[in-house]
């Protein structure tokens, strides 16, 4: 049974933008950006494809790190960069359209990385109806 080639290449934050540019200049396209928590921070997996060829660049963003956006090269990456910021709390610099944490309407900060050291966790619940602030009903708590 033929399957997708499994190519995973380790890289660094400093190299990721240039490497994404290299893929673009070779005519490859951006497939996905995947975040996952690892002991040293958040692992970011950038997937690129040139038809049958399929490669993944892997880096670890340590706490406090800022990762350069690749959405200036591949515009559609902005969806995933905002997602990684909102769900994992990774700081991404210069996203083509930066929603500033409002891309996903999350009710708790960085839900897929609850102990994220990347973001300010001083999250306060606000209520749409000030009268019900003391007794929230029907899941009325607001977002961020």
């Amino acid at each position: 049974m033929a399957m997708d080639p499994q190519v995973f290449i380790n890289t660094t934050i400093a190299e990721i933008h240039d490497k994404a540019r290299d893929y673009q200049q070779k005519g490859w396209r951006f497939v996905a950006l995947t975040g996952s928590t690892v002991p040293g921070g958040v692992e970011l997996l950038y997937s690129f494809s040139d038809f049958k060829e399929f490669e993944q660049l892997r880096l670890v963003a340590e706490p406090g790190a800022t990762v350069p956006a690749v959405s200036d090269i591949f515009f559609n990456a902005l969806v995933f960069e905002n997602e990684v910021h909102d769900l994992f709390g990774v700081n991404i610099k210069d996203i083509a359209i930066d929603f500033g944490g409002k891309f996903y309407g999350v009710s708790v900060p960085t839900p897929m990385n609850p102990q994220s050291p990347f973001v300010d966790n001083s999250f306060t619940v606000t209520y749409r109806d000030s009268k019900s602030a003391d007794q929230p009903t029907d899941g009325q708590e607001g977002g961020n």
Binding site: M1, A2, M3, F8, S47, F74, V79, F80, V106
Partner: protein
């Protein structure tokens, strides 16, 4: 220069069954910029891998979307099979492709109906969905489910479909052929359809490449990319496969690609039924994914390439599972086709890429 105004579009709109929001920056009646926003119904299903073991999680993937439910279970299963080095029986590979192509047929017919409904052609809408019912009947007869099939899992498929049943499926599909030809003729030649789709939502080939769009959206802009071409899984048993492309690049081109892909899917099913070998349909899967093992795979869903990633941690629970759906990938291209369009065409433009927000908000 005319004054610019921001008009909010969505998240609720009659043409959208699911929520997505756009801030449309308009000059007079022309959209000059569209800023998308999603996340209104995000479910965080990927996180459930920490609570459901890798064998049970397939039932969650099926529920990501009601249209590509089988596709997601197939994509998930093949990713775990790569992760654990599992060889699937050949007959199961055939059956998976047959069910997946049936899903594509019903998905495209569903879109054609929705599109007809959107431009007010109610009769065409009902005809599309009437034919689609036959596919759902096939699902019900062979798997017991019309939407959630529960047919696929890691290692193969749960239940065999007998050769007689497969021949029956082919008979149904061939019987549909005449009706579907009439329907396609109406869909692609009717004046009212053409007036709403031709020249609307144009995306050039270069823009399609630059925005990395996938599926019929890309193929309608003459980008010959289709994961099925690479012969992954059961697609390797096809004698030949060429993606259907169109040079139009507009809404009409996208409708044409989908209409022709229905016929292509029927041909694929007919060929595979004529070749399907006898044998087992499921292998017993033992053990758990190794700690640190990773796998990534792609599958051509009805809306385009879908990406799956899995990471094991030595237990029966995965460390991470990720799905990047075709609609998420097409959001960039969607904003591109909205730039410069008439504001009255915005709903139809969004509809022509066949967005699936429930997939995107997995």
């Amino acid at each position: 220069m005319a004054e610019r105004t921001v008009i909010p579009f969505g998240p609720q709109h009659p043409v959208l069954p699911e929520p997505i929001h756009f801030d449309l920056v308009v000059e007079d009646e022309t959209v000059v910029e569209a800023i998308p926003q999603i996340g209104f119904v995000h479910r965080g299903l990927e996180q459930l891998v920490k609570k459901k073991d890798y064998s049970t999680f397939v039932s969650v993937t099926e529920r990501i979307c009601g249209i590509c439910s089988f596709g997601h279970s197939l994509g998930y299963s093949q990713t775990i099979e790569i992760l654990m080095g599992i060889e699937v029986p050949q007959r199961a590979e055939y059956l998976r492709v047959i069910l997946h192509e049936l899903s594509r047929v019903h998905s495209h017919l569903l879109w054609m109906g929705l599109a007809a409904d959107a431009f007010g052609f109610e009769n065409l809408f009902m005809q599309c969905w009437r034919i689609r019912e036959r596919i759902l009947d096939i699902f019900e007869a062979t798997t017991g489910g019309r939407v959630i099939l529960s047919a696929c899992n890691v290692g193969g498929v749960y239940h065999d479909i007998t050769n007689e049943e497969l021949k029956g499926i082919v008979d149904v599909l061939k019987g549909m052929g005449n009706e579907y030809s009439k329907l396609t003729k109406t869909f692609l030649n009717d004046g009212s359809v053409k007036s709403r789709l031709i020249g609307v939502g144009y995306l050039s080939k270069q823009d399609a490449i630059d925005n990395c769009v996938v599926g019929p959206f890309a193929r309608a802009s003459n980008v010959a990319e289709d994961i099925r071409c690479y012969g992954f899984g059961g697609y390797g048993y096809l004698s030949a496969f060429e993606p259907i492309v169109c040079e139009d690049g507009d809404g009409y081109g996208r409708a044409k690609v989908r209409a022709l892909e229905v016929l292509q899917s029927i041909d694929i099913i007919v060929e595979l039924v004529s070749k399907i070998p006898d044998g087992e349909v499921m292998v017993k899967v033992k053990g758990s994914p190794e700690d640190g093992s990773v796998s990534a795979s792609r599958l051509e869903q009805p809306r385009g390439e879908c990406f799956y990633y899995a990471k094991g941690n030595g237990s029966k629970f995965l460390e991470r599972f990720r799905i990047r759906t075709p609609t998420a990938q097409n959001i960039g291209g969607m904003t591109k086709i909205l730039q410069g369009c008439d504001i009255a065409d915005v709903p139809l433009n969004i509809l022509t890429i066949d967005p699936c927000i429930s997939c995107t908000e997995r």
